[in-house]
Amino acid sequence: MLRMILGRLPQMVIVVLGTGFLAFSIMFVLPGDVVRSILGDNYTPQAAAQISAQLHLNQPFLIRYFSWLGDFVTGQLGTSLIPPHQQVSDLLGQALLPTGEMLLFGQIIAIVLGVGLAVLSVASRNRVVDRIVQAIALVCSSIPGFVLGLLLLELLAVQFQLVSPRGWVAPADGGWGENISHILFPSLILGLFTFPVMMRVFRAELVSQLDDEDYVTLARLKGISTGRLIFRHVLRNSSFGLLTVVGINVARLVGGVVVIEAIFGIPGMGTLIKNSVQQHDTPAALASITFVAIFVVVANLLVDIAYAILDPRVRDAAS
């Protein structure tokens, strides 16, 4: 297992570095006078020269890149260029929790819905149930997340006042209960528009296991009940495709998070990235983009580890 993780390390580092480089290049080529926007009304040529020197703005591209990289690797994320000039590490710290919670809950909701509905549609052996499940998945996968969010928000929060309205409550301010009750609804939206892919993949896998695999026939011949057959045998063997989808989805989810944060007014990573790029706040933008890349890469590693845990063949091959 350890060897597998170590083997993946170079790849992961390359992807993170590449992402950082790409982000750096984008920020570099963006037109617009950073110095002027920082100084605003206090603009004087002297102050401008000073700031340029401070930000290494006069240096060539590669020098600036490597000096940023050196700072980043040694944990110096710098301060935001935008007043009130917070530490970037603080900004990240504040933004990580809401987004992390949303991704975690959203992913759990998606997996539970995806696996649950797939099992329901296959195990019920009922055409109608199957059709209904398929229809739900089609609807959810065909409505953009923000539309779903807006409509459900209007319906559940404004009209029926069933869920907490927009906004984010930090656990320090309102306690964990308040915090979770606010993050649950946006997570649900995230889960709703992610689960259909999982359901389809899982359902296809379930069907192919049940129809084609000899070990299923063998279990049936022994008189093992369908419930036990599915839960003890088939579920685990069907989960590998699902894992792959989870890994691929992580990157897509981050995009969805930006939109959902915008709708619900949640100050998470998506908002941080959007604002910092928009305001040319290079330190904050680079740090947050690179963090997302690290997150994506680590999530994919976790998926591979889960693979190895679930499949003894992979486990043995890895060690």
């Binding site: 992807v15 790409l22 089609l138 609807v139 065909s142 990157a251 933008a285 983009i289 997302v292």
Partner: protein, 297 residues
Amino acid sequence: MTTATPTNTSMIPTSKRGPRLRLYRARAYRKPSVIVPAAILLFILLACFAGPTLFHLPKPSVGNLSDYLLPIGSPHHLLGTNTLGNDMLSQLLVGGQITIIVSVGAMALGLVFGTLIGMIAGYYERIVGAVLMRILDIIFAFPDIILAVAIAAYLGPSVINTIWAIGFFNIAGFGRIARAQTLRVVRMDFIVAGRSSGISGFSILWTHIWPNIAGRVFAYALIALSYAMMAEASLSFLGLGVPIPTPSWGNIIGSNQSYMSLAPLLIVMPAILLFATIASANLLADGLQEKRASTIE
């Protein structure tokens, strides 16, 4: 860009399979799960592109504030007007044009570049392949919203820029599919034989590998189209995509967001169109896939 897809499609089955097979295939398409979504898509396409001229609709953004929020069925405004007095039918149909152009364009961008990269990565498995794959991984790990934000913030949002922003991220998806399929095909005997007899790589890629992976790639194209459509809508909704006053389904929803309680139809109508289009694309993808399975049988 829009016409590239259909022309290529007609090229897939030609190489070695005879006309009989193609006839058979055409017949296999003739079933409800293919025809119904295809018909809906065609209808939406026609309505959006021919509708405004056909029905002499006013331009989408020339409304008069005195026509503020006219209800559905008003004279001259079949679907009413929005808060600026713009004709909603015109907004929806022209908005549809924009949404369709952007998403088809972005999909085509991903299709062309992603497939090319993926095929090369799959064919030259070793160094070139590894390098290209890492590049695809990087594009993949890069939150797609960033480029859009950057482009919108500094080049200014526009239809073309939105196509670039979304298309760029489609490259990774197509790249993965094309690479996986190429890897599958490359191991087949006739390719191995061709390779060892010294035929040039690009000639093999084009004449042998492409025809064998085109089906899967185009099947993915429909899915990518529905992703692109959602991405366009999301970006425009955030104000990072198609800029107002040019309407698109996404920015119609975005710009009317604050009137949700006052005039929910302003949001519901474009949402329904968006849903119908994406759902049809998804259903069509399913229907075609189903056909593929039964053809093999």
